[in-house]
Symmetry: D2
Subunit: 334 residues, 4 copies
Amino acid sequence: MIVVLKPGTGAEKKEKLIQWLEHQGMRVHISDGDYQTVLGIIGDASRLDLDLVESLEIVDKVSRVTEPFKCCNRKFHPEDMVVSAGGVPVGGGHFAMIAGPCSVETEEQILTVAKAVKAAGADLLRGGAFKPRTSPYDFSGLKARGLELLRIARAETGLPIVTELMDIRDLELFSDVDVIQVGARNMQNFDLLRELGHCDKPILLKRGLANTLRELLMSAEYIMAGGNEQVILCERGIRTFADYTRNTLDLSAVPVLHELSHLPVIVDPSHATGLSRLVPSMAMAGVAAGADGLMIEVHNDPIHALCDGAQSLRPEEYAKLSEKVRQIRKVVTA
Amino acid sequence: MIVVLKPGTGAEKKEKLIQWLEHQGMRVHISDGDYQTVLGIIGDASRLDLDLVESLEIVDKVSRVTEPFKCCNRKFHPEDMVVSAGGVPVGGGHFAMIAGPCSVETEEQILTVAKAVKAAGADLLRGGAFKPRTSPYDFSGLKARGLELLRIARAETGLPIVTELMDIRDLELFSDVDVIQVGARNMQNFDLLRELGHCDKPILLKRGLANTLRELLMSAEYIMAGGNEQVILCERGIRTFADYTRNTLDLSAVPVLHELSHLPVIVDPSHATGLSRLVPSMAMAGVAAGADGLMIEVHNDPIHALCDGAQSLRPEEYAKLSEKVRQIRKVVTA
Amino acid sequence: MIVVLKPGTGAEKKEKLIQWLEHQGMRVHISDGDYQTVLGIIGDASRLDLDLVESLEIVDKVSRVTEPFKCCNRKFHPEDMVVSAGGVPVGGGHFAMIAGPCSVETEEQILTVAKAVKAAGADLLRGGAFKPRTSPYDFSGLKARGLELLRIARAETGLPIVTELMDIRDLELFSDVDVIQVGARNMQNFDLLRELGHCDKPILLKRGLANTLRELLMSAEYIMAGGNEQVILCERGIRTFADYTRNTLDLSAVPVLHELSHLPVIVDPSHATGLSRLVPSMAMAGVAAGADGLMIEVHNDPIHALCDGAQSLRPEEYAKLSEKVRQIRKVVTA
Amino acid sequence: MIVVLKPGTGAEKKEKLIQWLEHQGMRVHISDGDYQTVLGIIGDASRLDLDLVESLEIVDKVSRVTEPFKCCNRKFHPEDMVVSAGGVPVGGGHFAMIAGPCSVETEEQILTVAKAVKAAGADLLRGGAFKPRTSPYDFSGLKARGLELLRIARAETGLPIVTELMDIRDLELFSDVDVIQVGARNMQNFDLLRELGHCDKPILLKRGLANTLRELLMSAEYIMAGGNEQVILCERGIRTFADYTRNTLDLSAVPVLHELSHLPVIVDPSHATGLSRLVPSMAMAGVAAGADGLMIEVHNDPIHALCDGAQSLRPEEYAKLSEKVRQIRKVVTA
């Protein structure tokens, strides 16, 4: 950690701070510049309260040198992690297509979609049984019955299933799920993350709407510190001033996360844009950016069928997109 | 709800959409403009999936006319809500000062601070026993022992206590707490909110880092829809590009929330800025903006004592600030 | 335009507003909902002050139905615009690679880079002669001499040149430039835009750091309303809370701009990320998102040569990237 | 400047970098930590290209120690600057109220408003003659005639005038203006700033929509470096995801700018919120935050008169607000 002192800091105050730092077990290396003094703090600075130090009258700024994450840090794990998602490898050169409806609605619906995406080459089936909804009055999913329908679809197609857990008290119901998804709004639900660190299933961890990449990695660290190293990171759009799409897909997250961490990184273009007609472009951009997989919503909704020219992602559109994604993937990894 | 169709939409497609809307139980009012057709949807549009309608090929844009929140909507509750926080009224002309340390650390610490803020006229004592921490390696609070120390401080000073609940499984431990705080990161932890709707304690609900005011109100709605109408809203800073303060305190939230809702609104300048030397200015700005209360961190930390000129909010600084806040409150409500 | 009145608005006030609107030349269509009255305003609502109407006591909200831009609106220009950039077609199926150094430094430098990017298949040469710098103490470009060096490089390689104009008083110096660039900070320098509307050169208009896509189009409209229809739009990253890259490249801008406008859209991954090691991923993502071109910084700087493994975009890296971009372009347009 | 090298950087590459830095005239202080090497760069680091150094393969991060602004830096100018705005002192304990209409429309209008705000104790008159408009089709001000009307209003009331300059070619027309305003969109129009550095009038510099406080200060530095030290900084709201107000007023800018600079800081609550009914709360919050003045829009518009209960800021509302602002100012400075 580096602590820059304000110009004109008296020797006595400087000395007191150094003593306090040493008392916390740090070694302090003093470097006097032309204008300001810089203290290099050597030792396990993760135990120091950076905000506290920064708030001191004599301190100008503070910056960490070492990243506070270890388990998910590529510095300590140079090899790509390959996560086994119900038998499907993700990461380390293995690309996975996850597809399915936003919500599981009926047996017929989930079976139809599951078979269609399987035919188009999808590797995993997604579908929401527990749905986070901004309004308490909106439909919040079929819950246990939704999980049952997903299992039926898996039995029928062989596709492993990915579905979201919102409340840790429901964990038992998820014993037969292949990949547990943590949604954007729960990215910093630390108690939930900690519990998932003790389970033996891969976790698909979505980036929160207003979270930095380092915070996403710290949340992965919560899971991994508990012993569960099977974490897949997912970029799904951040909240910005931009008002045309629901969120702003931050694709630079893909190469940056690959730089900082050895975990696989996938992209969800459906939630990011909120407009299905933009999904193909953003899916192709995601794979071109180097993602290890894509998570795409596919549905066969009556209203879309009704308006036959609608730009929504119906199974046939998904199939066409899949083919292009595969070709771009080949170019990227060539 | 208003649905604007794209120019040149064919009569047949328009008719199909209208039929579908009517099938969902809506009445549709058609208005043909010079360029575009506008459909006015009359009925309980909260049951329609706005995103789905917006994604249709023939739809240009969709906007809701009525707010989706009812319980916390001033339109239906014109009188200010007065929340009773352990006997202390908040809102509707009642101003409350909440003060205390970030974390409860020791009996001596909490008693010292509690007595000091009581002497400076604080109405409620805050202190964290369960702490949300970005890193799994950071100190996450004294937990049950912290709650016990808060009770001791209450017994000693008479100040009701406000403290954060992170995991619904801990609810029982909070049976003796006066006000339960929901932190910014849990503002959209919908299962937690729903459970708190069934408890009989006031809830202090903090705005999430990237949440709009309407989303904050929808989260209050979750609690209130369950029967618990005692909700206090709290602005504590949002995440923006601004890089000097930890977050950007959005004080316009105060008059806007008062316009939209009858719930009391308080301001937390400590978390918003992350720099204690800015707290007095932002606290005064908060009360001037019309807040019904302030939540301020006060501590008597050794390192601050060490550097005697530090700008941190020590008890004596808090006392001085309290006096100014009271005077500004008088001007605002005169 | 649609004006939603607050519930309980008295008949008299409603009548006064309608009269005022009719007095402004509008026709008003009244639609009474279960809760609220909605006024459909028919006529040229672009002449009304939306903010003023919105601020009225009886008004709940206001929304425009028609877009305020005409010249750059795809609704009125369904065919893609093809801009001729010094003879190189951009848009409408024509993909252009623009490459070169950030700043023109010396004749040797610009010639070396120009030849290298030409060899790698670049279509246009970029290079800054007038540089916008945050600090008044930083090097702000070679100015007229820089333009001269660009002309020399063009003569040598045949590549048309793209360079930024910051001050309208310098326009004469640009008479021999092929494409004039308007930088992000000048996107809403309306006097500059208006003047460029009267010149006969293509304008490469960069999106401002905090501007919506509709604002970008309104700025294009400024140029086009003056008679100059040769505008190329450029996404170069927006400012968000994300702190790892310099800006956040918003690639959804590409399909959205193509939807709203017939103008060509290019992507600048170099300025967006600020980190040359991320440029290849973001360049590939840009072309995959459907961009009509890419603008990439290429340099042969001694310090990069010095550290031989540096991830910076040297000519040979650019050549390799170009090849991948071409292949992805083929997949996208197949 | 501090340069942190990546762990495992070879001795040879480290040596090359140090040589290069020394070749640029820096002294380099090497500090080897447990994990990483930190280079302390001593000398005039403002001449180094921070982005270039950061992009090197062996560099983990770079941070500046000294601020790049000098003329407006409180470190070198501990005493508050008092700007003389047409004879009215602003800053250093002098509080100024600037009021007037958004645009100058007619002689009657500007005279009516000017007299009303003068009667309510305003110190300066604002009014737009050249108006920045997002759309080329909107009214862009009366221009020279508007300036003339402002002069008439000054002659009548004695209030010095503040008005916006957008195009440096119009500077001559402003020779008789008391304070020249630079709008948010021109905050980084560096050529404009540089020219204003050579004029002898106070400049009211508004913060750009997406600019940090350090960037605002760098723009002030442009003006001051040219010799014109009379700069007033103005916070007027930034662009965030928040969607209820036009922009988000960032009041923490006030104490932070006072900390970093000796220049006076004023607040414009009218443009920040875009909703006149929120202006009184935000104006009171602004003075409570420590602002040296407020800039408020006052108008006497027929439509507002029409809807007699409208919440807009009419002269009588301004007068009432002024009184409260004065009282809060007394509390803050007591």
